[in-house]
């Protein structure tokens, strides 16, 4: 992650190793934080209870206890399951998360890849997880699993579209698909000549932001969009037959993806790792001081926590949609609204 911070002349293999390690940290750390802070503690407080308190001070080691518990459970494969596909399905889902984090910039030099078409890449690889969920549901040889997998696929396809359309507004405004340049456009921009806050796109693209967050909620299959794993109807959907380490993989992938999508949403709408460049008199990307490589990731983590708080808040507050309501909401509300949003953004972009 901070390969260029240490020295520019690190050998290729060392840079690659650092990036891989950075990627693992950037996936696992948000997942752990979100699970402990939000899933264990915040959910408990919202339900007027304390949550885990025994393991470590204030239950802070509960996470390790949970992981230890899952690791020692028996790894069961159903007798009539398609063994190989059953086993690789969780890995496909997790791989999609790792691919996603590869484009997120954490600082002026702290990035994994500086992809020219970063936004496009992010939309493409996020759809790979659908494949994993579908084959997980099918290979389990269980009706509930298959139904859950099919529901998940239908839902993810339906909500991919509003997500793409919501992001297009940002792309039009920034004039680039490179996530690093989108950060720059927001922090170096100004609102009506006043540059004290830069120009975070959440202000101009608020509709897009709302649609994006709703679509993310649906992509993550969090309540109110959790029909694929609806426990009262489908046991646990596509995860029903999974146990031990493989269930843990699904679990980590779910919350890591929540973290990564929060990171991406903060890059697209909240200004990413940057602070308004006018504060320090930076004009171009090259002016940005090296210490932003250290402060940037911290800013990103703060924004990520904020957005995942919103995701979890919604998750704990709302009841579940019905399957037909879900599809109707996507096709009849989100898609038209985002199309209008694109049109207005394009007209304003040409006008100003």
């Amino acid at each position: 992650m901070s390969a260029s911070l240490l020295a520019a002349d690190l050998p290729y293999w060392a840079q690659a190793l650092l990036r891989v390690l950075g990627g693992v940290v950037a996936v696992l750390l948000p997942a752990g934080t979100i699970v402990y802070v939000f899933l264990f503690k915040m959910m408990s407080f919202m339900q007027s209870r304390l949550g885990p308190m025994e393991a470590g001070p204030y239950g802070s080691l509960q996470l390790f206890a949970e992981v230890g518990k899952w690791l020692q459970k028996e790894d069961i494969t159903p007798e009539r399951a398609d063994r190989f596909i059953f086993k690789i399905a969780p890995l496909v889902v997790l791989a999609s998360t790792f691919l996603l984090v590869a484009v997120v910039p954490f600082g002026p030099d702290a990035w994994f890849t500086d992809f020219e078409a970063g936004v496009f890449y992010m939309l493409a690889v996020s759809s790979v997880s659908v494949l994993g969920i579908l084959i997980a549901g099918w290979a389990s040889a269980n009706k509930y699993s298959l139904l859950g997998g099919l529901r998940a696929a239908g839902q993810l396809i339906a909500y991919e579209l509003p997500m793409v359309l919501a992001v297009i507004g940002v792309i039009i405004q920034a004039g680039t698909m490179n996530l690093q340049n989108i950060v720059f456009a927001q922090n170096a921009g100004s609102m009506f000549g006043w540059d004290g806050l830069g120009n975070p796109f959440i202000l101009t693209q608020f509709v897009g932001f709302i649609i994006f967050m709703i679509a993310v909620q649906a992509e993550l299959t969090q309540t109110p969009f959790d029909m694929p794993i609806a426990e009262s109807e489908l046991v646990s959907g596509y995860m029903t037959e999974y146990s031990g380490f493989r269930f843990l993989t699904f679990f980590i992938a779910e919350f890591a993806t929540a973290g990564v999508f929060s990171l991406i949403a903060s890059v697209l709408f909240l200004g990413g790792w940057g602070i308004p460049f006018a504060w320090f008199g930076w004009d171009t990307m090259d002016d940005v001081d090296g210490w932003m490589n250290v402060v940037g990731p911290l800013i990103m983590v703060t924004k990520m926590m904020l957005l995942s708080f919103v995701i979890m808040w919604v998750r704990f507050s709302y009841p579940r949609f019905r399957e037909d309501q879900l599809q109707r909401f996507a096709w009849k509300v989100l898609v038209p609204v985002s199309l209008v949003n694109i049109m207005i953004t394009a007209i304003l972009k040409v006008a100003f």
Binding site: R80, D82, E116, A124, L131, W138, I157
Partner: protein, 173 residues
């Protein structure tokens, strides 16, 4: 020096991916389970995306993943799982016309090789691959939406008609 190393690495990468794609393509037609065949097709299509990446055509590679892996294959699997997708071997997957497919695919191979050789035989790859840069997305969009705007619109209308037709067919009332 670096350029030559990159060229060797690129060739090795190309060969590995090409072998994977050929094996995958053969498995698509020989495997005796619909879902397995679809998944082998995913291997082939992602291999094509990887080949595009090796040629530093990122945009095409991403499009390949988005359209084929993310949408077409998911739809394929979705359809087969909704209708018929048993676990385990199925014996009635091959019908008796499969022999006709061999000359057809050989003919396709011949025609496409001929087109590629005829069209690009004089073209040479850049001597030093280290100098290869990503083509900016802006340039791609200018190239597509400048001279080809009208064909693009026509294509959109064809797709729109297909969508409307699908809705009309799906509605029972």
């Amino acid at each position: 020096m670096l350029g030559a190393d990159l060229l060797v690495a690129q060739n090795i990468g190309f060969s590995i991916i090409a072998v994977m794609m050929i094996v995958g393509a053969l498995r698509v037609v020989t495997v005796n389970n619909v879902v397995h065949a679809a998944l082998w097709l995913v291997v082939v299509l992602s291999g094509a995306a990887a080949q595009y990446l090796l040629l530093s055509a990122e945009f095409v590679a991403i499009t390949q993943v988005l359209v084929y892996v993310g949408a077409v294959m998911v739809l394929f699997l979705f359809g087969t799982m909704l209708t018929r997708a048993r676990i385990g071997a199925e014996n009635d997957l091959n019908n008796k016309n499969w022999k006709i497919a061999i000359p057809v695919s050989l003919l396709m191979l011949g025609v496409m090789s001929w087109v590629v050789i005829d069209g690009f035989a004089d073209e040479r790859l850049i001597e030093n691959p280290g100098e290869m840069t990503q083509v900016p997305v802006l340039q791609i969009s200018d190239d597509i939406f400048g001279p080809y705007l009208l064909p693009f619109w026509a294509l959109s209308f064809v797709l729109l008609i297909a969508v409307i037709g699908a809705i009309v067919l799906a509605r029972k009332d």
